[in-house]
């Protein structure tokens, strides 16, 4: 028996999702909660790494008993409630469903959607503290249109080497971006991106580049050149983790 959990969390207090020795991580909290709530040893498999401070609205992870003789006896519809009692209040299981035993939380990912939130105002909003990039100024309609134009160039199948932080060991940097666009609601700007996968810091570098378009440092029409340069140094800086949300995971079978 394998169960797929959908999880939301505020990433501020965690060093990302994946387990790290002696550090608070979402996976550590989830492993502990599963053990306490189900009373048996389980394997917990996450869909993705996330950076320290990054948030999630729709993270996915599977849970299954380590020993095939063991069973999770909590009824499926009660699992979110039971796990949430065992989890800290900045992590919440929002949904649980059975999946087949050969389902894999990471390998079966078809598409991932991220959202990056920017608060474009001279006056910071304390309720958005650590949950957005506080840009410190307004973004004009004209600049917003340029950013929108720039974002549209991310769509397609490209080697996104220019948008990958140094230190990544990934060799195949080709990814397919299906959607890439900005929305705005007053001072709140959101960058949405849907792709079959992401390189290390890819979304944050894409956002840093869009903000360089806003600042006039990068021309909105030069994005194709930046992509084809396959050189990290020609793209913008890496926007901070605070504004990044893993929005949704799409699986092949769902």
């Amino acid at each position: 028996m394998k169960i797929l959990l959908t999880i939301a969390y505020v990433g501020t207090n965690y060093q990302g999702y994946q387990l790290q020795k002696d550090k608070p991580t979402v996976a550590l909290m989830l492993n502990n909660a599963v053990k306490n709530a189900f009373g048996i040893e389980c394997n917990v498999t996450g869909c993705s790494r996330t950076d320290s401070g990054v948030h999630a609205l729709g993270y996915c992870a599977t849970v299954e008993p380590k020993n095939s003789d063991d069973k999770i006896t909590v009824p499926i519809e009660k699992i979110p409630l039971v796990l949430n009692l065992a989890l800290p209040s900045d992590i919440s299981v929002i949904c649980a469903k059975y999946v087949s035993d050969d389902f894999h939380a990471r390998y079966d990912v078809q598409k991932k959607e991220y959202v990056y939130k920017i608060h474009a105002s001279t006056i910071r909003d304390p309720f958005l503290d650590k949950r957005v990039l506080e840009y410190g100024k307004e973004i004009s309609d004209e600049k917003f249109k340029k950013m929108q134009k720039a974002a549209s160039f991310y769509v397609g199948t490209h080697r996104f080497t220019s948008f990958m932080s140094a230190g990544s060991k990934i060799e195949n940097t080709e990814r397919t971006v299906y959607e890439s666009y900005l929305t705005r609601d007053g001072e709140n700007v959101e960058f949405h991106i849907l792709a079959n996968g992401f390189l290390y810091n890819m979304v944050r570098i894409m956002v840093g580049t869009l903000l360089d378009v806003e600042k006039g440092k990068i021309d909105e029409n030069s994005i194709p050149d930046i992509i084809s340069a396959e050189n990290r140094s020609v793209a913008g800086s890496t926007a901070k983790a605070d504004g990044l949300y893993l929005q949704k995971i799409f699986y092949f079978d769902s």
Copy 2:
């Protein structure tokens, strides 16, 4: 020269607004920021006490030099920015304007508006942690209508003794409630109340009473009797501080 500040803050990390010895309070942070930003001793006067953990979207406070020979030299339009650099990121000055020297932040309050936020869902939202009352279940339309009916009885001029926590030394418990209603947007329920003043814990007890109506412990039509009983024990429990927001202060002169 006297300056009126409008301030938003997340109350979670503070023991309320007002200064308390050796405790973190919003007033302490504001006093320190004013001193650091303006470089002179100032009197800071808040519009109201707030309970530990209560939030504010439109708190008001005045600032004026202690010594009448001193001047605040920062241009008025720069004051929010300058103070925000000196304040922690969970407090933000959103507006500053000059007021007359005889203006008083507390005595000149005409009306105050509070909002109380309830998340009515079996699944908690980690992004609302400490920012709402997590009710732990949904509220049906039928129950919501009963709560709405109950809330409507709060409107008017009454002695709200039943809605005042024991320990308050206030003798005149008469207050005028101008508006009292609930709104809902899916799982998010808000109680709005506008009055010429509030007794100790008044909004939180009003909310606790509305939730007792939801639970069927209190009949929605018994609110007038609860008010006229002038007895704290007949009203509902005091809802936790987490969901309470000081929304707006209305002054006589504005």
